[in-house]
Protein backbone atom coordinates (compact mmCIF):
# COMPACT_ATOMS: atom_id res chain seq x y z
CA UNK A 1 0.00 0.00 0.00
CA UNK A 2 2.88 2.31 0.75
CA UNK A 3 4.43 1.79 -2.69
CA UNK A 4 1.67 3.94 -4.19
CA UNK A 5 2.72 6.90 -2.08
CA UNK A 6 5.38 9.28 -3.27
CA UNK A 7 6.91 9.36 0.15
CA UNK A 8 9.81 6.90 0.59
CA UNK A 9 9.31 4.04 3.07
CA UNK A 10 11.78 5.38 5.60
CA UNK A 11 11.39 9.13 5.18
CA UNK A 12 12.54 11.43 7.96
CA UNK A 13 8.98 11.68 9.25
CA UNK A 14 8.60 7.93 9.45
CA UNK A 15 11.96 7.49 11.16
CA UNK A 16 10.83 10.03 13.72
CA UNK A 17 7.66 8.01 14.36
CA UNK A 18 9.84 5.01 15.00
CA UNK A 19 12.40 6.63 17.29
CA UNK A 20 10.56 9.33 19.24
CA UNK A 21 8.90 6.78 21.59
CA UNK A 22 12.38 5.68 22.73
CA UNK A 23 12.80 8.77 24.86
CA UNK A 24 10.84 11.98 24.12
CA UNK A 25 7.40 10.36 24.02
CA UNK A 26 8.19 7.08 25.75
CA UNK A 27 4.93 5.23 26.43
CA UNK A 28 5.83 4.15 29.97
CA UNK A 29 7.62 7.07 31.56
CA UNK A 30 6.19 10.00 29.59
CA UNK A 31 2.73 8.97 28.40
CA UNK A 32 2.23 6.77 31.53
CA UNK A 33 0.62 3.92 29.61
CA UNK A 34 0.89 0.19 30.17
CA UNK A 35 2.31 0.42 33.66
CA UNK A 36 0.66 -2.68 35.13
CA UNK A 37 2.53 -5.20 33.06
CA UNK A 38 5.71 -3.11 32.91
CA UNK A 39 6.06 -3.53 36.64
CA UNK A 40 4.76 -7.00 37.25
CA UNK A 41 6.92 -9.01 34.86
CA UNK A 42 10.25 -7.31 35.56
CA UNK A 43 11.62 -9.35 38.48
CA UNK A 44 13.71 -11.32 35.92
CA UNK A 45 15.11 -10.27 32.55
CA UNK A 46 13.90 -13.21 30.48
CA UNK A 47 10.15 -12.82 31.05
CA UNK A 48 10.55 -9.07 30.66
CA UNK A 49 12.15 -9.58 27.26
CA UNK A 50 9.48 -12.03 26.09
CA UNK A 51 6.79 -9.63 27.30
CA UNK A 52 8.41 -6.72 25.43
CA UNK A 53 8.48 -8.70 22.17
CA UNK A 54 4.84 -9.82 22.60
CA UNK A 55 3.61 -6.30 23.27
CA UNK A 56 5.56 -4.94 20.28
CA UNK A 57 4.02 -7.53 17.97
CA UNK A 58 0.49 -6.90 19.23
CA UNK A 59 0.85 -3.10 19.11
CA UNK A 60 2.29 -3.09 15.60
CA UNK A 61 -0.31 -5.42 14.12
CA UNK A 62 -3.32 -3.97 15.93
CA UNK A 63 -2.24 -0.53 14.69
CA UNK A 64 -1.88 -1.91 11.17
CA UNK A 65 -5.26 -3.69 11.17
CA UNK A 66 -7.17 -0.83 12.75
CA UNK A 67 -5.58 1.61 10.34
CA UNK A 68 -6.73 -0.53 7.41
CA UNK A 69 -10.25 -0.72 8.88
CA UNK A 70 -10.44 2.88 10.04
CA UNK A 71 -12.80 4.10 7.31
CA UNK A 72 -15.27 1.22 7.59
CA UNK A 73 -15.94 1.22 11.35
CA UNK A 74 -18.70 3.45 12.75
CA UNK A 75 -17.19 5.39 15.65
CA UNK A 76 -19.90 4.32 18.12
CA UNK A 77 -18.86 0.69 18.14
CA UNK A 78 -15.15 1.19 17.57
CA UNK A 79 -14.10 0.28 21.13
CA UNK A 80 -15.57 -3.18 20.91
CA UNK A 81 -14.13 -3.74 17.42
CA UNK A 82 -10.71 -2.71 18.71
CA UNK A 83 -11.02 -5.07 21.65
CA UNK A 84 -11.95 -7.97 19.39
CA UNK A 85 -9.01 -7.34 17.05
CA UNK A 86 -6.59 -6.97 19.96
CA UNK A 87 -7.97 -10.01 21.79
CA UNK A 88 -7.60 -12.16 18.67
CA UNK A 89 -3.95 -11.06 18.27
CA UNK A 90 -3.25 -11.72 21.95
CA UNK A 91 -4.73 -15.22 21.70
CA UNK A 92 -2.33 -15.90 18.81
CA UNK A 93 0.63 -14.62 20.83
CA UNK A 94 -0.47 -16.65 23.85
CA UNK A 95 -0.71 -19.88 21.86
CA UNK A 96 2.72 -19.29 20.28
CA UNK A 97 4.28 -18.63 23.70
CA UNK A 98 2.67 -21.76 25.16
CA UNK A 99 4.03 -23.81 22.25
CA UNK A 100 7.62 -22.53 22.16
CA UNK A 101 8.56 -21.02 25.55
CA UNK A 102 6.25 -22.82 27.94
CA UNK A 103 8.20 -22.05 31.14
CA UNK A 104 8.25 -18.30 30.44
CA UNK A 105 4.57 -18.40 29.53
CA UNK A 106 3.85 -19.99 32.94
CA UNK A 107 5.83 -17.23 34.68
CA UNK A 108 3.96 -14.51 32.83
CA UNK A 109 0.65 -16.17 33.85
CA UNK A 110 -2.24 -13.72 33.54
CA UNK A 111 -0.08 -10.93 32.18
CA UNK A 112 -0.19 -12.28 28.63
CA UNK A 113 -3.98 -11.98 28.76
CA UNK A 114 -3.63 -8.52 30.21
CA UNK A 115 -1.90 -7.31 27.03
CA UNK A 116 -5.50 -6.88 25.81
CA UNK A 117 -6.15 -4.18 28.35
CA UNK A 118 -2.64 -2.75 28.11
CA UNK A 119 -3.30 0.94 27.64
CA UNK A 120 -0.39 1.34 25.21
CA UNK A 121 -2.24 -0.68 22.60
CA UNK A 122 -5.65 0.95 23.00
CA UNK A 123 -3.97 4.33 23.40
CA UNK A 124 -1.96 4.08 20.20
CA UNK A 125 -4.91 2.73 18.21
CA UNK A 126 -7.15 5.55 19.44
CA UNK A 127 -4.57 8.30 19.19
CA UNK A 128 -2.71 7.33 16.04
CA UNK A 129 -3.95 4.43 13.95
CA UNK A 130 -7.51 5.73 13.55
CA UNK A 131 -6.24 8.86 11.84
CA UNK A 132 -3.23 7.71 9.85
CA UNK A 133 -2.22 5.48 6.95
CA UNK A 134 -1.28 1.82 7.59
CA UNK A 135 2.50 2.07 7.14
CA UNK A 136 3.10 5.00 9.55
CA UNK A 137 0.71 3.31 12.01
CA UNK A 138 2.71 0.10 11.83
CA UNK A 139 5.96 2.00 12.50
CA UNK A 140 4.32 3.88 15.34
CA UNK A 141 3.29 0.54 16.85
CA UNK A 142 6.78 -0.90 16.60
CA UNK A 143 8.31 2.29 18.01
CA UNK A 144 5.99 2.36 21.00
CA UNK A 145 6.43 -1.35 21.64
CA UNK A 146 10.19 -0.90 21.56
CA UNK A 147 10.03 2.14 23.84
CA UNK A 148 8.06 0.02 26.30
CA UNK A 149 10.61 -2.78 25.89
CA UNK A 150 13.56 -0.52 26.70
CA UNK A 151 12.03 0.51 30.02
CA UNK A 152 11.19 -3.12 30.84
CA UNK A 153 14.77 -4.20 30.18
CA UNK A 154 16.21 -1.36 32.31
CA UNK A 155 13.92 -2.12 35.26
CA UNK A 156 14.48 -5.87 35.07
CA UNK A 157 18.27 -5.41 34.76
CA UNK A 158 18.45 -3.64 38.11
CA UNK A 159 15.88 -5.84 39.81
CA UNK A 160 17.52 -9.09 38.75
CA UNK A 161 21.08 -7.88 39.40
CA UNK A 162 20.40 -6.53 42.88
CA UNK A 163 17.62 -8.93 43.81
CA UNK A 164 19.04 -12.30 42.82
CA UNK A 165 22.61 -11.54 41.72
CA UNK A 166 21.99 -12.97 38.26
CA UNK A 167 21.40 -11.63 34.75
CA UNK A 168 19.31 -13.60 32.27
CA UNK A 169 19.48 -16.50 34.77
CA UNK A 170 23.32 -16.60 34.87
CA UNK A 171 25.11 -15.73 38.06
CA UNK A 172 27.14 -12.53 37.68
CA UNK A 173 28.05 -11.70 41.27
CA UNK A 174 31.01 -13.97 42.11
CA UNK A 175 30.93 -16.38 45.03
CA UNK A 176 33.69 -14.63 46.98
CA UNK A 177 31.44 -11.59 47.36
CA UNK A 178 28.88 -13.72 49.13
CA UNK A 179 31.62 -15.26 51.29
CA UNK A 180 32.66 -11.78 52.39
CA UNK A 181 29.20 -10.91 53.61
CA UNK A 182 27.42 -9.57 50.49
CA UNK A 183 23.83 -10.70 50.28
CA UNK A 184 21.08 -10.22 47.75
CA UNK A 185 18.50 -7.54 48.45
CA UNK A 186 15.34 -9.59 48.24
CA UNK A 187 13.23 -6.45 48.61
CA UNK A 188 14.11 -5.78 44.96
CA UNK A 189 12.09 -8.83 43.95
CA UNK A 190 8.95 -7.56 45.68
CA UNK A 191 6.38 -5.45 43.80
CA UNK A 192 6.88 -2.09 45.57
CA UNK A 193 10.49 -1.73 44.48
CA UNK A 194 9.48 -1.83 40.81
CA UNK A 195 7.37 1.27 41.38
CA UNK A 196 10.20 3.05 43.14
CA UNK A 197 12.64 2.18 40.33
CA UNK A 198 10.21 3.62 37.75
CA UNK A 199 9.96 6.74 39.90
CA UNK A 200 13.75 7.06 39.89
CA UNK A 201 13.95 6.48 36.12
CA UNK A 202 11.39 9.26 35.61
CA UNK A 203 13.43 11.51 37.88
CA UNK A 204 16.66 10.94 35.93
CA UNK A 205 14.95 11.15 32.54
CA UNK A 206 13.25 14.44 33.35
CA UNK A 207 16.39 15.96 34.78
CA UNK A 208 17.86 15.62 31.29
CA UNK A 209 14.66 16.55 29.41
CA UNK A 210 13.52 19.71 31.14
CA UNK A 211 10.63 20.24 28.69
CA UNK A 212 8.84 17.21 30.17
CA UNK A 213 8.71 18.52 33.74
CA UNK A 214 5.16 18.88 35.15
CA UNK A 215 4.22 22.46 35.91
Amino acid sequence: MSSKEKEPLFSAKNIKLLTSPFSQSNPVIVQILGICSALAVTAKMKPAFVMAISVTVVTAFSNLIMSLLRKTIPSRIRIIVQLVVIAALVILVDQVLKAYVYDVSKQLSVFVGLIITNCIIMGRVEAFALGNKPWPSFLDGIGNGAGYGIILIIISFFRELLGSGTLWGYQVIPDWCYQHGYSNNSLMLLPPMALIIVGLIIWIHRSYNKNLIDK
Binding site: I35, C36, L83, I91, L114
Partner: protein, 205 residues
Amino acid sequence: MESILNIFIKSIFIDNMVFAFFFGMCSYIAVSKSVKTAMGLGVAVTFVMAVTVPLNYLLNEFILLPGALSWISPSLASVDLSFLSFIVFIAVIASFVQLVEMAVEKFSPTLYNQLGIFLPLIAVNCAIMGGSLFMQERAYANIGEATAFGLGSGIGWWLAIVMMAAIREKITYSNVPAPLKGVGITFILTGLMGIAFMTFLGIQL
Protein backbone atom coordinates in the same frame (compact mmCIF):
# COMPACT_ATOMS: atom_id res chain seq x y z
CA MET B 1 -18.65 -19.27 54.91
CA GLU B 2 -15.26 -18.92 56.55
CA SER B 3 -13.44 -19.32 53.28
CA ILE B 4 -15.59 -16.64 51.67
CA LEU B 5 -14.76 -14.13 54.42
CA ASN B 6 -11.11 -15.12 54.16
CA ILE B 7 -11.03 -14.53 50.39
CA PHE B 8 -12.85 -11.22 50.84
CA ILE B 9 -10.38 -9.83 53.41
CA LYS B 10 -7.43 -11.28 51.56
CA SER B 11 -8.36 -9.67 48.25
CA ILE B 12 -8.81 -6.24 49.89
CA PHE B 13 -5.63 -6.03 51.94
CA ILE B 14 -3.12 -8.77 51.18
CA ASP B 15 -3.54 -9.34 47.45
CA ASN B 16 -4.47 -5.72 46.86
CA MET B 17 -4.91 -5.14 43.14
CA VAL B 18 -2.77 -2.00 43.07
CA PHE B 19 -0.05 -2.68 45.61
CA ALA B 20 0.55 -6.37 44.96
CA PHE B 21 -0.17 -6.66 41.22
CA PHE B 22 -0.16 -3.09 39.82
CA PHE B 23 -3.52 -3.64 38.11
CA GLY B 24 -5.33 -0.59 36.84
CA MET B 25 -2.26 1.62 37.21
CA CYS B 26 -3.06 3.78 34.18
CA SER B 27 -6.32 5.15 35.53
CA TYR B 28 -4.92 4.97 39.06
CA ILE B 29 -2.22 7.48 38.14
CA ALA B 30 -4.39 9.58 35.83
CA VAL B 31 -7.50 9.95 38.00
CA SER B 32 -5.99 10.21 41.49
CA LYS B 33 -5.67 13.99 41.40
CA SER B 34 -8.75 14.74 43.49
CA VAL B 35 -10.54 12.65 46.10
CA LYS B 36 -13.97 13.34 44.64
CA THR B 37 -13.36 11.89 41.18
CA ALA B 38 -11.32 9.07 42.70
CA MET B 39 -14.36 8.15 44.81
CA GLY B 40 -16.63 8.07 41.76
CA LEU B 41 -14.29 5.89 39.72
CA GLY B 42 -13.67 3.61 42.70
CA VAL B 43 -17.39 2.96 43.16
CA ALA B 44 -17.86 2.26 39.45
CA VAL B 45 -14.90 -0.13 39.29
CA THR B 46 -16.07 -1.98 42.41
CA PHE B 47 -19.56 -2.40 40.99
CA VAL B 48 -18.38 -3.60 37.58
CA MET B 49 -15.93 -6.04 39.16
CA ALA B 50 -18.46 -7.43 41.62
CA VAL B 51 -20.73 -8.29 38.67
CA THR B 52 -18.31 -9.33 35.90
CA VAL B 53 -16.17 -11.70 37.96
CA PRO B 54 -19.09 -14.01 38.94
CA LEU B 55 -20.52 -13.66 35.41
CA ASN B 56 -17.24 -14.76 33.88
CA TYR B 57 -17.00 -17.47 36.52
CA LEU B 58 -20.27 -18.97 35.27
CA LEU B 59 -19.15 -18.72 31.63
CA ASN B 60 -15.84 -20.31 32.49
CA GLU B 61 -17.44 -23.11 34.48
CA PHE B 62 -20.20 -24.01 32.03
CA ILE B 63 -18.75 -23.18 28.62
CA LEU B 64 -15.01 -22.65 28.49
CA LEU B 65 -13.28 -25.20 30.75
CA PRO B 66 -12.22 -28.56 29.28
CA GLY B 67 -15.30 -30.81 29.46
CA ALA B 68 -17.51 -27.98 30.66
CA LEU B 69 -19.99 -28.45 27.82
CA SER B 70 -20.95 -31.95 29.00
CA TRP B 71 -24.14 -30.54 30.57
CA ILE B 72 -25.54 -30.16 27.03
CA SER B 73 -24.74 -33.67 25.92
CA PRO B 74 -22.09 -36.19 27.07
CA SER B 75 -20.63 -36.31 23.58
CA LEU B 76 -19.29 -32.75 24.04
CA ALA B 77 -17.22 -33.72 27.09
CA SER B 78 -13.96 -33.69 25.14
CA VAL B 79 -14.37 -30.10 23.90
CA ASP B 80 -11.86 -27.61 25.34
CA LEU B 81 -12.68 -23.98 24.61
CA SER B 82 -10.35 -22.44 27.18
CA PHE B 83 -8.25 -20.73 24.48
CA LEU B 84 -11.27 -18.50 23.85
CA SER B 85 -11.36 -17.19 27.41
CA PHE B 86 -9.57 -13.86 26.69
CA ILE B 87 -12.01 -12.85 24.01
CA VAL B 88 -15.09 -14.03 25.95
CA PHE B 89 -14.03 -12.24 29.14
CA ILE B 90 -13.25 -8.96 27.43
CA ALA B 91 -16.51 -9.11 25.46
CA VAL B 92 -18.50 -9.63 28.68
CA ILE B 93 -16.67 -6.77 30.40
CA ALA B 94 -16.99 -4.36 27.47
CA SER B 95 -20.68 -5.04 26.93
CA PHE B 96 -21.44 -4.85 30.66
CA VAL B 97 -19.69 -1.50 30.90
CA GLN B 98 -21.71 -0.29 27.93
CA LEU B 99 -24.89 -1.47 29.67
CA VAL B 100 -23.97 0.27 32.93
CA GLU B 101 -23.18 3.43 31.00
CA MET B 102 -26.60 3.43 29.32
CA ALA B 103 -28.41 2.65 32.59
CA VAL B 104 -26.61 5.40 34.50
CA GLU B 105 -27.23 7.90 31.71
CA LYS B 106 -30.95 7.08 31.74
CA PHE B 107 -31.61 6.92 35.46
CA SER B 108 -29.07 9.27 37.02
CA PRO B 109 -27.80 11.97 34.66
CA THR B 110 -26.00 13.79 37.51
CA LEU B 111 -23.82 10.79 38.32
CA TYR B 112 -23.27 10.28 34.60
CA ASN B 113 -21.92 13.81 34.22
CA GLN B 114 -19.71 13.43 37.28
CA LEU B 115 -18.06 10.29 35.98
CA GLY B 116 -17.72 11.62 32.44
CA ILE B 117 -15.24 9.73 30.30
CA PHE B 118 -14.17 7.44 33.13
CA LEU B 119 -17.19 5.20 32.66
CA PRO B 120 -16.33 3.86 29.18
CA LEU B 121 -12.66 3.69 30.18
CA ILE B 122 -13.48 1.10 32.84
CA ALA B 123 -13.71 -1.45 30.01
CA VAL B 124 -9.96 -1.22 29.49
CA ASN B 125 -9.06 -1.00 33.17
CA CYS B 126 -6.75 -3.94 33.65
CA ALA B 127 -7.92 -4.44 37.25
CA ILE B 128 -11.22 -5.78 35.92
CA MET B 129 -9.77 -8.03 33.25
CA GLY B 130 -7.12 -9.09 35.77
CA GLY B 131 -9.83 -9.99 38.27
CA SER B 132 -11.46 -12.34 35.77
CA LEU B 133 -8.15 -13.90 34.74
CA PHE B 134 -7.08 -14.47 38.35
CA MET B 135 -10.50 -15.99 39.05
CA GLN B 136 -9.81 -18.45 36.22
CA GLU B 137 -6.22 -19.18 37.29
CA ARG B 138 -7.01 -19.71 40.97
CA ALA B 139 -10.06 -21.88 40.18
CA TYR B 140 -12.43 -20.81 42.96
CA ALA B 141 -14.67 -23.55 44.29
CA ASN B 142 -18.08 -21.91 43.89
CA ILE B 143 -19.75 -18.73 42.76
CA GLY B 144 -19.84 -17.35 46.32
CA GLU B 145 -16.06 -17.35 46.50
CA ALA B 146 -15.78 -15.79 43.05
CA THR B 147 -18.19 -13.01 44.04
CA ALA B 148 -16.31 -12.37 47.28
CA PHE B 149 -13.07 -12.15 45.31
CA GLY B 150 -14.54 -9.74 42.76
CA LEU B 151 -16.11 -7.49 45.38
CA GLY B 152 -13.02 -7.55 47.61
CA SER B 153 -10.63 -6.73 44.78
CA GLY B 154 -12.85 -3.86 43.71
CA ILE B 155 -12.95 -2.44 47.22
CA GLY B 156 -9.19 -2.85 47.49
CA TRP B 157 -8.69 -0.84 44.31
CA TRP B 158 -11.15 1.80 45.51
CA LEU B 159 -9.31 2.09 48.84
CA ALA B 160 -5.97 2.46 47.08
CA ILE B 161 -7.06 5.18 44.66
CA VAL B 162 -8.84 7.23 47.35
CA MET B 163 -5.81 7.05 49.66
CA MET B 164 -3.53 8.08 46.82
CA ALA B 165 -5.78 10.98 45.85
CA ALA B 166 -5.79 12.21 49.46
CA ILE B 167 -2.00 12.10 49.60
CA ARG B 168 -1.66 13.86 46.25
CA GLU B 169 -3.99 16.66 47.36
CA LYS B 170 -1.68 17.27 50.33
CA ILE B 171 1.56 16.93 48.39
CA THR B 172 0.75 19.89 46.13
CA TYR B 173 1.83 22.05 49.09
CA SER B 174 5.18 20.29 49.45
CA ASN B 175 8.47 21.19 47.87
CA VAL B 176 9.10 18.21 45.57
CA PRO B 177 12.20 18.35 43.31
CA ALA B 178 11.03 19.67 39.92
CA PRO B 179 11.84 16.60 37.76
CA LEU B 180 10.03 14.37 40.25
CA LYS B 181 6.81 16.42 40.33
CA GLY B 182 3.58 14.79 39.20
CA VAL B 183 3.95 11.17 38.12
CA GLY B 184 7.45 10.61 39.48
CA ILE B 185 6.55 11.24 43.10
CA THR B 186 3.29 9.33 42.60
CA PHE B 187 5.19 6.19 41.66
CA ILE B 188 7.52 6.45 44.63
CA LEU B 189 4.59 7.09 46.98
CA THR B 190 2.74 4.07 45.61
CA GLY B 191 5.86 1.98 46.19
CA LEU B 192 6.08 3.15 49.79
CA MET B 193 2.36 2.47 50.31
CA GLY B 194 2.94 -0.99 48.85
CA ILE B 195 5.67 -1.65 51.41
CA ALA B 196 3.27 -0.51 54.13
CA PHE B 197 0.59 -2.88 52.81
CA MET B 198 3.07 -5.76 52.96
CA THR B 199 2.60 -5.77 56.73
CA PHE B 200 -0.75 -7.48 56.09
CA LEU B 201 1.08 -10.48 54.59
CA GLY B 202 0.43 -13.77 56.26
CA ILE B 203 -2.81 -12.81 58.00
CA GLN B 204 -5.16 -15.78 58.08
CA LEU B 205 -8.77 -15.69 59.17
